[in-house]
């Protein structure tokens, strides 16, 4: 398991596409969840910013080398 994490972080450091895209996807998913959850109004308010960050990040990082 720790090997997976090490690979993930070293990928992030060397600006590789895989881990960055993963990170962006998680942000998008988090943003969508924040937007639609019924528990906390503040999370809804900030959801758009999280989704926007994730989406922009995805567009940029999908051009990183594999």
């Amino acid at each position: 398991m720790s090997g997976v994490f090490r690979r993930f972080f070293s990928g992030l450091m060397r600006l590789r596409r895989g881990p960055w895209e993963m990170l962006a996807s998680i942000l998008i998913a988090l943003g969508v969840f924040m937007m639609m959850q019924p528990f906390w109004m503040v999370a809804y308010t900030w959801s758009f910013l999280v989704t926007l960050t994730g989406t922009v990040m995805f567009i940029i990082t999908s051009h990183f080398p594999e």
């Binding site: 996807s25 998008i28 943003g31 639609m36 995805f58």
Partner: protein
């Protein structure tokens, strides 16, 4: 019939032009072929998109042409993202999204698994199962409204036949508690085949020898299911869930015809809410900001979808 179509397509190009472009280099031919598509998409998708973004910073209203348009900065976004009513709408959408995906994945996977038992005539039944998802959602929604009528509707009659409840005692689309489930039922009826088809493709992509090897290792059927079948179908299932998720996030036609967002706002999903703001209250600037929020969310989900698509393609 298929042959003729291609011929006609070829003949539709006048010979004079054909000769002229015939001599072009590959690169200019490539651009010549792509340009019309890109141009049309720019004109009908991107240009309006940019316009929407611009409008979203103003207080423009279509029905008041003479009022001066003011630049309001991020005010529209601020108002939408702090509005409890729109938050409520999002939760209605979430309820719809969660339960339709839940039932469709459950039923779709089960059906695909059963069809993959390869009994005789499974092709015929697959084709018949698929029929609902190809139909017009608006017309289907309108007709389910008839099936849902208390007393005279077939749905209520069947429920009362099975459970003994008086068919006139409940109204699927008239009650605040039942209406959210009414739209879930119709969407599940319509789109389960979609998930089923994709799961079936996943199941068929698993080569037999993997199961044969597991059989030799004496892995139980139950274990084989969880260690071979599920992980191998998962990328396909992801694809189906993402696609249905995007589609249901922007659901409009089916629900608007079935319940119109009512009773009250019990089934007012985001698209219906947006339609009210934009085309009934005519708050164009405000609705544009709303649209931009939906755009960005869907664009984000779509990029994950394309990633999932490419992963399945590599298989």
């Amino acid at each position: 019939m298929t042959r003729k179509m291609a011929d006609r397509l070829a003949e539709a190009t006048p010979p004079g032009i054909a000769r002229k472009i015939g001599g072009l280099s590959d690169r200019s031919l490539a651009w010549l072929f792509i340009a019309p598509t890109i141009f049309l998409l720019l004109a009908i998708n991107i240009f309006p998109l940019i316009w929407t973004i611009r409008l979203s910073f103003t207080n423009y209203r279509v029905n008041r042409v003479n009022a001066d348009v003011k630049w309001v900065g991020l005010r529209n976004y601020e108002r939408i993202l702090t509005d409890p009513d729109i938050w409520q709408t999002m939760q209605v959408t979430a309820h719809f999204l969660f339960w339709t995906l839940f039932f469709q994945v459950l039923l779709g996977f089960a059906l695909a698994w059963l069809i993959n038992r390869k009994f005789r005539g499974n092709d015929l039944w697959t084709t018949l199962i698929v029929l609902p998802m190809m139909l017009s959602p608006a017309v289907v929604g309108n007709f389910w409204k008839f099936l849902y009528q208390p007393q005279i509707g077939l749905f209520n009659y069947m429920v009362s036949f099975v459970s003994g409840v008086d068919p006139a005692s409940f109204s699927m689309i008239g009650s605040i508690d039942l209406a959210p489930w009414a739209i879930v039922i119709v969407d599940t009826w319509m789109w389960t085949p979609f998930v089923m088809l994709i799961c079936l493709a996943g199941l068929r992509s698993i080569p037999d020898y993997i199961y044969e090897a597991a059989e030799i290792d004496r892995a139980s059927k139950w274990r084989q299911f969880w260690t071979i079948t599920v992980p191998m179908v998962l990328p396909f299932l992801m694809l189906a869930v993402l696609f249905r998720g995007i589609e249901n996030f922007k659901m409009f036609d089916l629900v608007v015809q079935l319940t119109g967002g009512g009773p009250g706002s019990a089934t007012e999903v985001t698209s219906i809410n947006l339609k009210r703001e934009a085309f009934e209250k005519w708050r164009t600037g405000y609705a544009s900001a709303y649209a931009v929020i939906l755009f960005v969310t869907i664009f984000g989900l779509a990029s994950i979808y394309v990633k999932a698509l490419n992963r399945v393609k590599e298989r």
